[in-house]
């Protein structure tokens, strides 16, 4: 597939670009400043002036920010004009997005019988069925930028994307073929901006469009060499995405467009590796709601009823000195002094001491989270740590017991002793019961997702679909996480007993467990703002290493630290949601949007590893929050079936395999043959709409009738007279 030999014949500079990722990253880091220069040099050496010309061109345009030459019309307009044009598009998109179908009906052309319902909430651009999979992403992007109108009413060239504020064109390649695994090759124009890749083919009606935020890209490979590529469409690039799909583009060798595209893609897909800022720092959309204010740690603790006589709030970690991966504000047992906290921190991995996540409003049973104790092979003990756990237990008068939930399989917990870690011994911690939840580590999860991707994309082997799915163990892991969280929720709710949760470092499995248990226990987290708070609190503030796990802007696609831990959590949320369709204020569209922007780097929310890093990079002031988008467009995500009375209920989901299902709306969304069922909530929205219309019609008829009577009655009387 990748014919390295052919490349090496062409010249050293190219070969460097072409090899494994580590080589590539080193080459780019050494010559980051002069990348465009060196590449154009190699281009001219290969003999084509047109290619070098174009790559120079786009290189200069990226530097100056103003367009010149052939492929960069949109850059010609000054920024404020662009903004204005976007706003005008905004207003249009509002009418045509969510209620496109409903609006269409009210316009007076109702389709009798069975009207084809809208497939996704925000879909409005292209509705051809074979474009289903591209369409889905368009929906998300539309939700993002609120730029839904693609056809007409704009002065930009039709084969270029509508840009979001802060986005600019970087390069355009014509006569590129997108090798769609479902609908076959399509020829069109490929554009690269500093935010996304955009492909448009006029061959179909409506035109075929594909948009991929570059943050989604995990790896870019060149396919075929100049002298080795014989067959049609054998020379091009393949783009591997973090959202379970691979895209292949074939270039015409004689156009010499591949190098420019690859270069631009590498540069903007992996800004961190090129010492460039994330696009989030350039994105300057204005949203009516400011998502950065959705989570205020003190306010959230106050909502839970803290501080109280047993729990206090401390700012001991304000400078992130005691624990650099923890938030600034902690809720800890009132009985523990600051000195105690320091001593406990010394005994917990990375200083991640047990800190309160959630407190039961009635029983005062709590969920606290931490990292593993530094027990080691010698079985070290810490009186302070033992006393601290006792304080946590004592803070709950309802129970004389405490559960320590170790998320790991017990074998792994034991193995960690060799590395200085381990778990609490029940002898040392009186009244504590240690339970292992058998959730595997990040490497197992990564491998599982890789297998799942193989099974789902691009084609599904129907004959072995179920057994292949089972062999990925993805649902098995989901089941494990869910039932672990269920166990925690049950201990807190049914036994009124406090639970301490940890894994090794307390930032992966622990975050999954506490967040899910809280979601089951507290209906607030099942509202749209509440869900944002949950993620901000349990995932972001407590230092789930998003940058590492996702690899934002980083080209080391084989990095061992990457793992779909957060995706797994969102999948679990979706499983619970499917079992309790009335208990969530939002729909799975919210979850999909969150996942898309987990990778997109459009928002600052998921960037970096900890609260501290985000403070240092001034993320809150320099980027937009994902929650701004979501809170500003709540109707796109609201679940019409939501029953607010469920807020006071605890959810105990079923966790056997037969009650879990693959989230095909996410994992199989690119496959047009996997048409997920029309969600009930959309059907319900339509029903409410029909109801409204019929009621209006009845009212009209009533008024008509009344009018006719008042009109008629004098005639009647006159007749009598």
């Amino acid at each position: 597939m990748f014919s390295g030999g052919g490349i090496e014949k062409r010249g050293i500079s190219k070969a460097v670009n072409k090899r494994s990722s580590s080589r590539r990253s080193s080459s780019s880091s050494t010559g980051s400043g002069s990348t465009s220069g060196s590449s154009s040099g190699s281009g001219s050496s290969s003999g084509s002036s047109s290619e070098s010309g174009r790559s120079n061109n786009s290189g200069s345009s990226s530097g100056s920010g103003s367009g010149s030459g052939s492929g960069s019309t949109p850059l010609g307009s000054p920024p404020h004009v662009q903004m204005a044009s976007h706003e005008s598009l905004n207003s249009e998109s509002k009418s045509s997005s969510l209620n496109s179908k409903l609006g269409h009906e009210s316009a007076g052309s109702p389709s009798a019988g069975s009207p084809s319902p809208p497939k996704s909430v925000c879909s409005s651009s292209s509705t051809s069925t074979d474009q289903h999979h591209h369409h889905q992403l368009a929906h998300v992007l539309n939700a993002t930028s609120k730029l839904t109108v693609r056809e007409g009413t704009r002065t930009l060239r039709p084969d270029e994307p509508t840009l979001v504020p802060g986005e600019h064109m970087e390069g355009t390649a014509r006569e590129v073929t997108y090798l769609c695994p479902y609908t076959g090759p399509k020829k069109g124009t490929l554009s690269v901006t500093n935010y996304r890749l955009y492909f448009r083919s006029p061959e179909t009606d409506p035109p075929f469009e594909l948009e991929v935020p570059l943050g989604v890209v995990s790896r870019i490979e060149k396919v075929g060499g100049a002298n080795t590529s014989r067959g049609e469409n054998s020379y091009g690039i393949e783009i591997f995405c973090k959202d379970i799909r691979n895209l292949r583009f074939a270039h015409k060798q004689e156009n010499h467009s591949r190098r420019m595209v690859t270069e631009k893609l590498l540069q903007y897909a992996f800004p961190a590796s090129h010492k460039l800022p994330f696009f989030a720092f350039e994105y300057c959309e204005q949203y009516p709601e400011n998502g950065w204010t959705v989570y205020e740690p003190i306010a959230e603790l106050k909502r839970q009823g803290l501080p109280n006589e047993s729990w206090r709030i401390t700012r001991l970690n304000e400078d992130y000195e005691l624990c650099e991966t923890y938030p600034a504000v902690w809720a800890v047992p009132a009985a523990a002094s600051d000195t105690d906290l320091r001593n406990v921190a010394a005994f917990r991995s990375r200083g991640r001491i047990p800190v309160l996540s959630w407190i039961h409003p009635e029983s005062q049973a709590t969920i606290t989270r931490c990292a593993q104790p530094l027990v080691g092979v010698s079985g070290k003990r810490s009186r302070d740590d033992e006393a601290y756990i006792q304080h946590i237990m004592d803070a709950n008068a309802q129970s004389h017991k405490i559960f320590i939930m170790d998320a790991r399989p017990s074998v792994n917990a034991v193995a960690n002793k060799a590395r200085g870690g381990g778990y609490e011994s029940e002898d040392a911690y009186q009244n504590a019961e240690v339970q292992f939840l058998d959730i595997h580590n990040i490497h197992v999860m990564r491998e599982s997702l890789r297998k799942l991707q193989e099974v789902c994309y691009p084609h599904i082997d129907n004959a072995h679909w179920l057994s292949n799915l089972e062999a990925t163990h993805w649902l098995d892991h989901i089941r494990c996480v869910l039932s672990g969280a269920l166990r925690i929720a049950d201990k807190v709710e049914s036994l009124k007993t406090s639970v301490v949760v940890h894994c090794s470092d307390g930032w992966d499995r622990t975050a999954q467990l506490t967040a899910l248990a809280m979601l089951m226990l507290d209906g607030y987290y099942r509202t749209i703002p509440g869900f944002a708070v949950l993620i901000e609190k349990e995932w972001l503030s407590f230092g789930h290493k998003f940058a590492q796990r996702i690899g934002h802007g980083d080209d080391r696609h084989q990095d061992e630290d990457r793992s779909p831990v957060f995706l797994q959590f969102v999948d679990c949320v979706c499983q619970v949601m499917k079992q309790f369709p009335h208990a969530f204020q939002f729909t799975e569209d919210l979850l999909i949007t969150v996942l898309d922007h987990l990778y997109s780097c459009l928002f600052g929310t998921f960037l970096y590893n900890s609260e501290r890093e985000r403070m240092e990079k001034e993320v809150k002031t320099k980027t937009v929050s994902l929650w701004s988008l979501i809170l500003s467009n709540p109707s796109d995500f609201e679940n019409p079936l939501y029953n607010p009375a469920t807020r006071h209920h605890v959810l105990f989901p079923l966790t056997s395999m037969r009650h879990l299902c693959l989230w095909d709306k996410y994992y199989c969304r690119w496959n047009p043959s996997m048409r997920p069922q029309e969600p009930v909530h959309i059907r319900f929205k339509e029903l409410l709409h029909v109801k409204g219309q019929l009621e209006r019609r009845v009212d009209e008829l009533r008024r008509e009738l009344a009018a006719r009577q008042t009109h008629d009655s004098p005639r009647v009387t006159s007749a009598i007279v």
Partner: protein, 680 residues
């Protein structure tokens, strides 16, 4: 296997009068056992409830004063036999397997109908055909009662012939408006409705002389004389000549045909003197007959297009395959204890796959889809050929009609379809579902396979059918209850004979065999009111079940069509489509009587361009959990088994609420205009 460490509810001696089961007219108590513990399977905390167990000639009845498990109650309410049976009752013909179970041991022993019982039976496990499991423990039962109840059960649950079952409750069926397809006029109406030319109704089978598994009237090519029909029938398996079952507007017909008889020589002439030459001659003759029949179908087509012949024996799984697959699923869904449950759960998906059930569903849908497109797109007649033409051809023929004929997707149309394709054309329900103890090798739940296909169809087109998957499931459960005569017999002829036998045995009592459709028109609760609640709640319960059985999305679509401007104004104009729609909505929402359709109106004519497509890819098909694991509760991981919040089943409640509100808005508007109109 059961752990009796915590004997909950240690039975007290019942002294306040004897407990008696509720008996239907004609029902007789056969055996009883006191102080029996009934254990819910898979409950980790081993809760059992105590009561008295009875075996009658109709059911196994467990009578207790203790409250009912909410899940059991819910499932009971959505069954079509809740007016015959109590929550803890089991109709004898529902019993699939009986095991002897013993304390502290995980071993269980299958008991056949003729099995001798030991002196003491510590417990019995009943596995029902609908995969429900009952565990009864006789630890506190007086000696002797346990064995007597066991013997009575084994003897009566597996009768030697169908007429030993309790088939008549002594009351006539209410009028349902569903044709039985045993009269010439039923078929004639169907011919008219589908406007299929060149076919005629033949009454040549009047005394089942032609074929015992077909109804007395069949539809055959117009050019085929009765004498030729009789001659042809001899050459087909089961002496079943090809019969018409449905037609499309273009003139294409759907025909079910048996294979030609391979062992015709044995049948026609018992003399062994017949040489190979003669046999070959006969085979040739059969072949000629088959060709002639196909030629006739060909000539019936108004455009004389070639018919498409689909050999179902080749394309679809055999009856045995289907049964093996079902048995695998039964094993997967009747675990004995939580350990086994979780063990199975780990490989749940691959075990589903290895059962091959979904691949069979997929194949049926695929063949049906191909047949449907041959009819719809190529206007070609389709001949479904199968060994006797009573099993898979019923599945495919029914599916084709569901895909092509919107009338069939209504409740009434669906009832007619089942009556026609399954009951009248002789699917051998009795053998396939194992209602008697004869020929266990004949068992094969082809009927369930069909229902699952329809279930998948309703998943993919959830507003296309007027009824829900819950209703399909209720039909599956109902097909094991002997009081629903629809699914008890091998053929119409078998039904008549059974009826005659019953009548002869008991000349005073009239025998009434009630079709399952009578549930809809039923307003009577046959059991005493104590067990099923007051008679007030009968209506309430039925209307709750109705809401589950009728597809609210379908009604929503009907209402959507009233949004067309001016439609509301035309509601009372009898020729408008709005009037027609409103009429249907009124029936569905239950103002116009018990039936959700007008029983006197003719079935609507065939419409064009209303065909459905179904995605047959295995990854698009879903295991039917409500059917296969509906009775198992997941062994609880949590301490309390509090059902924190009702799960999915309630999603339609809100829908119904709004649909009703729309209905009442329009209705009140209509009555206003009516009064005003009168005033004018």
């Amino acid at each position: 296997m059961l752990n009796y460490k915590r004997p909950v509810d240690v039975p007290e001696e019942v002294d306040n009068g004897k407990v008696e089961p509720n008996l239907l007219p004609g029902e007789i108590k056969i055996a009883e056992a006191n102080n029996v513990l009934k254990f819910a399977p898979l409950k980790t905390n081993k809760t059992g409830i105590s009561g008295t167990l009875f075996v009658t000639n109709f059911k196994v009845s467990f009578v207790t004063s203790l409250p009912v498990d909410s899940k059991e109650a819910e499932l009971h309410e959505r069954s079509l036999q809740s007016h015959y049976l109590g929550v803890h009752d089991v109709c004898l013909s529902e019993v699939d397997l009986v095991y002897q179970i013993s304390e502290g041991s995980t071993k269980k022993k299958r008991l056949l109908y003729n099995a001798p019982l030991p002196a003491r039976v510590s417990g019995l496990q009943l596995v029902l055909k609908n995969l429900r499991v009952f565990n009864f423990c006789f630890k506190f039962t007086p000696a002797g009662e346990d064995v007597r109840i066991g013997q009575a059960l084994l003897h009566h649950a597996f009768p030697p012939s169908i007429d030993h079952l309790f088939l008549s409750c002594g009351h006539p069926s209410p009028f349902t408006g569903i044709p039985e397809f045993c009269l010439a006029q039923d078929w004639e109406k169907e011919l008219q409705r589908t406007r299929c030319p060149n076919w005629r109704v033949s009454k040549h089978n009047e005394f089942f002389n032609l074929c015992s598994s077909l109804p007395t009237v069949v539809v055959v090519p117009r050019d085929l004389l009765d004498a030729q029909l009789e001659q042809a029938a001899q050459h087909f398996q089961g002496t079943r000549p090809p019969v018409w079952c449905w037609g499309a507007l273009g003139g294409a017909a759907l025909v079910r045909m048996a294979q030609i008889s391979p062992n015709i020589s044995d049948k026609i002439s018992v003399t062994k003197s017949m040489g190979t030459l003669q046999r070959r001659k006969l085979e040739e003759e059969s072949q000629q007959q088959e060709n002639r029949m196909m030629g006739l179908v060909h000539r019936c087509h108004p455009k004389k297009l070639q018919p498409t012949i689909i050999d179902l024996d080749q394309k679809l799984p055999s009856l045995k395959d289907v049964n093996i697959s079902y048995i695998k699923l039964r094993e997967l869904h009747t675990p004995d204890d939580p350990t086994q449950f979780w063990e199975q759960d780990r490989h749940y998906f691959s075990r589903w796959e290895s059962s091959r059930w979904l691949s069979y569903v997929s194949k049926c849908l695929e063949v049906a889809q191909n047949a449907a497109s041959a009819i719809a797109h190529h206007n070609s007649s389709v001949i479904l050929q199968e060994s006797e033409g009573r099993d898979m051809s019923a599945v495919i023929s029914s599916l084709v009609q569901l895909l092509l004929d919107p009338q069939v997707r209504t409740l009434r149309g669906f009832h007619s379809l089942i009556q026609k394709e399954w009951v009248a054309l002789g699917h051998s329900f009795c053998s396939r579902l194992g209602h008697t103890r004869n020929q266990p090798e004949e068992q094969s739940p082809v009927w369930l396979l069909f229902l699952d296909c329809v279930h998948q169809l309703s998943l993919q087109h959830h507003a296309a059918l007027e009824f829900t998957s819950e209703y399909l499931l209720a039909l599956w459960h109902a097909s094991h209850c002997s009081l629903h005569s629809s699914f008890m017999f091998n053929s119409v002829n078998a039904k008549y004979s059974a009826k005659a036998v019953l009548q002869r045995e008991n000349p005073q009592q009239p025998v009434y065999l009630r079709p399952v459709w009578s549930w809809w028109a039923e307003d009577h609760d046959w059991l005493g009111s104590e067990q099923n609640g007051s008679s007030e709640s009968v209506k309430g319960r039925r209307s709750a079940a109705r809401d589950l059985f009728l597809n609210v999305h379908y009604i929503q679509n009907l209402m959507e069509s009233l949004v067309v401007s001016g439609a509301l104004g035309r509601l009372r104009d009898p020729v408008s489509s709005a009037h027609h729609t409103w009429h249907r909505i009124q029936y569905l929402l239950g103002d116009s009587g018990p039936l959700p359709y007008d029983p006197n109106a003719p079935l609507g004519p065939l419409q064009i361009d209303a065909s459905l497509r179904v995605d047959v890819a295995l990854s698009s098909l879903k295991p039917w959990h409500e059917c296969f694991s509906g009775w198992i509760s997941e062994p609880s991981v949590t301490i309390n088994e509090i059902d924190s919040l009702s799960r999915q089943s309630t999603t339609t409640v809100q829908h119904w609420e709004h649909v009703r509100q729309i209905y009442y808005t329009i209705k009140s508007h209509l009555s206003e205009t009516l009064t005003n109109g009168v005033a004018e």
